[in-house]
Symmetry: C2
Subunit: 353 residues, 2 copies
């Protein structure tokens, strides 16, 4: 089997057909992930709901709108400062439903356990899932457990899928983004990825960085109440960080996004850790943050509503939507220069969620 | 880490707390699986829908009843005579919804790929999934792909979760089983597990045994139309075969089940392969069969309806529900003797689905 190419220095899109095998980057949420979806999954499974490529899919169901979302979690290590794979698995699917405008209701849990995994660790993970579900107000109503031999897993992989009801009257999605929209992020960026990487790399920082894993459904409800039809799109910027989410939205909406670099909220300890690890916080995963695109006239109301919620206390206006450079995200630096924030090819942080 | 005990000769329940680590049997659908559920998942996640332990969970949703089901697939090898992990992943979740009385509508797909997996193989699997979904009349509307490093997976693991609408007016579940109910299976047993095991073990038989993987939703609709309120419970007997499904129902229903051993439909080549492999067909997985418990007065109508469907052409009445030996499954042998068909502890066929 030929060795996969080294993607670290590539800067152009890579057509799927040139790659005979799966590489880590295919799971990174960047261009390689997008190519798998575009060239393989979409043509095979084609339908309108899938083609929207939101965090959840929304389909009609007996007069209501049902949202369905799925996510598999392979984070390494399973326990990290601020959380565990159990918290991530519940909060991640709750958040995918919430940012799609749905009220999360029910989750399923599919576990793939490796032979030899400690039952005490499994019990901790299950306990974390139960607490996270209670905290988010969702019920875990069905599950499945498979076991694979030693050397064919990594302790515990978890899939959660979730259903919710869309009660918001207005469509939420990239199609509704307009020039002039204000971009708000609900707090500091890069916390989760940096927390996981710092324990993985055995780095010690003066301050322990905690994952921000949290369920955003109540915060998102407040955003929708405050902004109503003016809320155009929301995303929870996990794999690939805010850079990937903003690029996805810019591409799908055919608009440009301009960020004010100095306004990006990054904890000092996260910035220090990112410098040490060679990471850019805009590409680092968040697990308890939401990006909101809102029409300018309601931006202040939404911003204030976000600030009123404990999980949105550090909400910050980070940029706006412009007519120029459609499909691109540009950051204006402190000295007035501009730099492109491209979609990454692969993944700088494998197995971060 | 202590070595897990050898379960092959155990015949008593094993309390979870005595086992410090996960063993293959925890994924086998037998007693060890049941203990994980009883001692770990149920106490943590407790809610009524989960406690029913059906193939899918049914919950109220804006005046309708929604069914949600999840299953992870780790079958080895990924391709086998008669199907692939792609077929299994779609049909398995479709069937879990169908036997719960729901019309399957939408599926999600979560993939965990191993670095180095051939994209050509992935494309075949995705194609199989798309064909199976079209054939079953369901849509795959959302998905997620993660990649793990070499040595932490086995090519491709797939989770599918599915939602459906329960339109059948009557409850279907073990609580409705009554003494006198007739037990029908929709065709020959043991085909899937034997097909997978024979390629895995490199055995060659004169006739190639094919997996029976198929979507049962239309067959099940015909069962419900013909039997209506007289259909008391259905199961698709996958992991652990019909023996596990019948034991689960007997335990949950607090009734006895008597099988006529000579009536069990087993292909000659499957029986020969099982003899070679040391397997009992009642414990071998099926992926396109349904067990139906129906009140005696409607049994003939249901049986005829099943026979009318191509996937039920070999439907057979295999037993009935009795007052004696509640919670137990007994087979009457050809010479008039009786043998207990116990729930297995672990799994005679690891990674069969």
């Amino acid at each position: 089997m030929p060795e996969p190419p080294d993607f670290s220095n590539w800067s152009c899109p890579l057509p799927l057909r040139d790659y005979p095998t799966i590489v880590m980057g295919h799971g990174g949420g960047g261009k390689l992930s997008a190519e798998l979806i575009e060239h393989l999954f979409l043509p095979a499974f084609r339908n309108d709901a899938l083609a929207n490529l939101g965090d959840a899919s929304i389909v009609p169901l007996t007069g209501t709108r049902l949202a369905l979302s799925t996510d598999s979690f392979v984070v390494r290590p399973l326990f990290f400062p601020g959380g565990s794979i159990g918290d991530l698995a519940v909060n991640g699917t709750v958040n995918d439903l919430a940012v799609s405008g749905a009220r999360p209701l029910y989750l399923s849990v599919g576990m793939i356990l490796e032979e030899g995994f400690a039952i005490a660790s499994l019990a901790r993970i299950v306990d974390d899932m139960a607490k996270a579900a209670r905290s988010a107000g969702v019920q875990i109503i069905t599950g499945d457990t498979k076991v694979v031999e030693r050397g064919h897993g990594d302790g515990c992989y978890i899939n959660t899928s979730g259903v919710g009801l869309v009660t918001h009257a207005h469509e939420i999605g990239p199609a509704r983004v307009q020039v002039g929209d204000i971009v708000i992020v609900s707090g500091t960026i890069g916390d989760h990825g940096t927390a996981v990487m710092s324990v993985r790399e055995g780095l010690e920082f003066q301050t322990t960085i905690l994952s921000d894993t949290a369920a955003l459904n109540v915060l998102v409800e407040q955003v929708l109440q405050a902004g109503n039809a003016a809320v155009h799109v929301m995303r929870d910027p996990t794999r690939g960080g805010i850079a990937s989410s903003l690029n996805e939205i810019a591409t799908a909406s055919k608009v440009g996004v301009v960020l004010e670099e100095k306004s990006l909220p990054v904890r000092a300890e996260v910035r220090a850790a990112c410098d040490l690890l060679g990471l850019d916080p805009v590409y680092v995963a968040n697990e308890g943050k939401v990006l909101v695109f809102v029409a300018e006239e309601r931006a202040e109301a939404v911003f204030n509503a976000m600030r009123d919620h404990p999980l949105g206390h550090d909400s910050t206006i980070i940029g706006k939507v412009v007519e120029q450079h459609p499909g691109m995200v540009i950051a204006r630096t402190a000295i007035g220069a501009s730099r492109v924030i491209p979609m990454q090819i692969g993944e700088q942080l494998p197995r971060i969620c």
